[in-house]
Structures are given as C-alpha cells and as structure tokens.
C-alpha cells in the first residue's frame, strides 16, 4: 500500500464525500493522480462502498442488535469459508468475523424485536448442521462504531478568540 493511498483512505474515512479536488489540495498532489488512485482502490475493492454511518437508535429505537458467538465444525478442504458464507448471506446478519479463541465466528444480527432475533438464532442459525453451539449477547447501547463516537454532547470547547 503506497503512502499516498493510505493518506487518501484516511481522508475518505473521515468524510466519504470529500471529492478528488479537495483531497488533491490537502495532499498537494495532482487531481488526476488522486482520481486514478481512488479508481484503482475501487477496482481492487480496497474501497468497498461509500455508505453513511447512521445512528439507527435515533431512527427507530426498537431495533435490537445481538452479537452471537458461534462454535462450528470446519469442513475438510474449505475450513470455515462455506459455513461463514451460509451465515452472512442472511440479510439479518450485519457482520461476520472469524475469531481466535474459545469460539469460531462472531455474528452480528439485527432485528426489529428481541423475539425476531431469538427466532433467527433458533430457527436459522442453530439448525445449520456444522453449528455446534451459539451464545447470544444483546447490545444495549452503541457508544462508538468504526472509530466514530455517537455521543455529540461534547463540541468545540475552545474560546472563540485566543492569542
């Protein structure tokens, strides 16, 4: 990964709507170079998507999110890939991570109600053949996600003018 690409990613991570021209000015490089680097990263799927970070609890506060620790039996030749795919294809599943430690997959599931999430676990996740066990933890509050702090109470606390 080039230094320039890394800097572009840092700027986009802070605000995905920054355009190539602004980024070029900030990094003191040609606009065309920035455009080319971004296109390259998009093609290589380094940049996967430009999505808004939404504080869903403000949109509808009933949403329920759970983190589920899943223990599975890996398949010969494919390891965890096949079963991970079977799980992540469900639209209810927001993220899936392969973990080191006491369990194998960490699955984030979102539903409208507690019941909906519980039924996903018991009717869809647990019955999968290679799933040995699940442990479900419901998220009560999100403080920070992907480096972004959700609490907006603390703004700029500096004096308006100082020497």
């Amino acid at each position: 990964m080039s230094d320039l690409k890394m800097k572009i990613l840092d700027l986009l991570k802070e605000d995905a709507r920054r355009d190539a021209e602004l980024i070029a000015t900030m990094l003191d490089v040609q606009v065309d170079v920035v455009k080319r680097e971004i296109a390259e990263m998009e093609n290589d799927h380094l940049i996967v998507k430009y999505a808004a970070v939404v504080n869903w609890s403000k949109v509808h506060d009933e949403t329920v999110t759970a983190l589920i620790e899943v223990q599975i039996t890996p398949e010969r030749g494919r390891g965890f890939e096949g079963i991970a795919e079977r799980i992540y294809l469900y639209p209810e599943v927001k993220s899936v991570y392969l973990m080191s430690g006491a369990y194998d997959l960490l699955v984030e599931v979102e539903g409208k109600t507690l019941k909906e999430v519980a039924s996903f676990v018991s009717n869809k996740l647990s019955p999968i053949d290679l799933v040995l066990s699940t442990k479900t933890f419901f998220i009560l509050k999100k403080y920070k996600q992907d480096g972004i702090i959700f609490d907006e109470s603390v703004g700029d606390q500096r004096l308006m003018i100082s020497p």
Binding site: D15, T25, D156, I161, P163
Partner: protein, 404 residues
Amino acid sequence: MINEQQTAPVNRRTSFADYLAPQARSLKPSGIRRFFDLVSGRKDVITLGVGEPDFVTPWHVRDACVASLENGKTQYTSNAGMPELREAIGSYLNDRFKVTYNPADEILVTVGGSEAIDLALRSLIAPGDEILIPEPCYISYSPITTLSGGVAVGIETFAEDAFKLRAEQLKAAITPRAKVLILCYPSNPTGGVMSYDDWLPIAKLVEEHDLIVISDEIYAELSYGQKHVSFAAMPGMRDRTILVSGFSKAFAMTGWRMGYACGHPEIISAMLRIHQYTVMCAPIMGQVAALEALTNGMEEMERMIESYNQRRRLVVKGFREIGLECHEPQGAFYAFPSVKSTGLSSEEFAERLLTEGNVAAVPGNVFGLGGEGHLRCSYATSVAQLNEAIERIGKFVERVRNEG
C-alpha cells in the same frame, strides 16, 4: 500628660486606581481582548481566531495523569521540575533539533512557555535595556518587556520576505543599549519560518553586538516542508540563546500550561530563583502528562501535524482563489492573508467580516508593526468549517469590492 505625637498628614488616594503601580496602570488590554468581547455572544459564527489546536490532548496522556492522581501524586516536585521529565526533554531536544542540554542545570520546567518568557526577561532586563522584537509577533513580548523595565524596540518584517527577519532590519534597530533579541519562528501570527541560511547573518549580528537571544520555539514541531532549525543549534549560539518551548501546540496540551526553558546554567539558575519564589514548581499533574507525551506521544503528534499541513494547503489555496494575497505560511497553524486589496484596514475588515459575514479572525494590527493590512486566520479547525469560512469570506470580499 498626653504625649501628642507629630505625624505627617495622610495623603488620601481618591480612587483605587491610585493604588496601582505606574507600570501596572500603563499596561493596556490587548487588541485581541477587545475583539474577543465583540465575538462572544454572537451565534453561528465560524471562528478562525483560535490560537490553539483543535485536537483534545491524546487520551493516553490524559489517562496517565488520571492514573497518577489515583496513585496520590499530588505533591510539589523539585523546583526545576521532575528529574525524569527534564531528562526526557533533554533527549527529545537532542533527537529532534540537535541541541544538547544538561538536565541537571540547563533545563527548567515552567508553567507554560509564557512563564519561561517572563522569567527570561525578568532575569535579563536592567532598567532602560533595549529588547529587540521582530514584528508582527505574539502579543505578550512587548508588555512583559515594559513590565520588567525594559524598552521594547519593534522590528518590522514584511510579507514579501515571508515575514522572515532580515539582517538589514535587525542591524538598523541595534543601538548600544540593545541587549536581548526575542525570536519566535515558526511565527504566530504569520506562519513565517527561518532556515539555516536565514539564521546565519542573524547569528553573526548577535555575536557582533554581544546580544542574548530568547528563542520562543513553541511551534517548532509545526514546520511544514523543511525541518525546523533551532536558533540554539546555530554555530556559537547555544550559550547566547535561551530556548523556550512547551507542550501546548505540538502535543495539543494548551490548558495544562506546561513549558520549559533551556540555556546557560548561569541564566537558568537565575530564572530558577525567580521561579522558586513565585510559583515553586510547575504542577505535578501537568509534568506527569508531559512526560507521557514525550515518552509515547510522538506518533500521535506526527498525525496531528500532518492534519494541520493538509488544512494549511486548503486555506492558502482558498484565500488566493477569492483574491486575497496570501504568502505561504511554512509553520504554526496560521495563515496571514493580506486584505489591503479591499481598501479596508485590518480592524475594519475584521469587524465587518464578523458582523456581515459571520466569520471571526484576528486583525493583524494587534500583532504590532507590519501586521496592519493582514488578518490572522487559524486553520486549526475542521475542514468543513474551513471551507464554509472561505466561502463566507469570499462573498464578503466581493461585496466590499462592489461598494468601491
């Protein structure tokens, strides 16, 4: 028998101002203060008037301070500052700027760089001594000089020179009474810097005229493009220089008030004596935090500097695009564009920009000679705010131009 004692009649003072010493009475509020009053209370103002980082002190630094409080570190430290901190400052200065000081008697930890400047001036000035101050500059040098009985002699620097101090100008200001030269590069408010080659003729004059230098290098780390050259690192200048710096700008620690001074043991020990009688020692909480910043904070510091640099490019381009001449500031976090083309004075421009354009910036004239016709704009604020501010200034400038 009543013994009537003869006493002189009491000369009653008619107001409390009469109690004030002449030097306190003559101390004027800074131009910045007046502007602060204008700004406060207004809503929806974007401010480019803030002279401090927009970052909060990195968490590991704050955490180290909290932990030390929990462990009961609430005592005085030695007058000069905790030995570990002085050691750390010594090796930091050596690593970054190639200047070497003995932590035992050449480094003094102070309450901000401000105290270090005050101590240095108080230690050096005898009544009537002339103190040479390149301007535009930070607002406190000249008042502190006056307070200590010295005579402040401003030396004008110019936008065409990127506000560098030139030997001709320095030479013209030197009289037989000249004793101290105060330097502040990278400069608040101009963003000007001095390179090795820029320093050479200055160092020669300092030597020739037997001057001593107070070099305020608080913005040293915030140098873009070229590495900062400490005046103390110039050949022969180490013992003639009191190097003043601190943690406020580079480590985003303004409110901690942590600074230091380094120099010849004779001078540092005089400063230490004043320091021990006036403040005892810098607060231990701040010293613990400063030590953590030096020990584990360099990476975070580099990140902050990179971020200032990105925003610097943005504002300089922005000002030029809306037709304000702007020399390229190579240090600190200020741009100092010229507003002369609008026909307004600094003050008129800043006041009208505030009331008509809802942007606050500090008029250049408050920083002394050479500041008139300029505006100090801090770019230590978010990219979104900077973009919005430049758009508002652009509209305002256009309106002013159409009036004429």
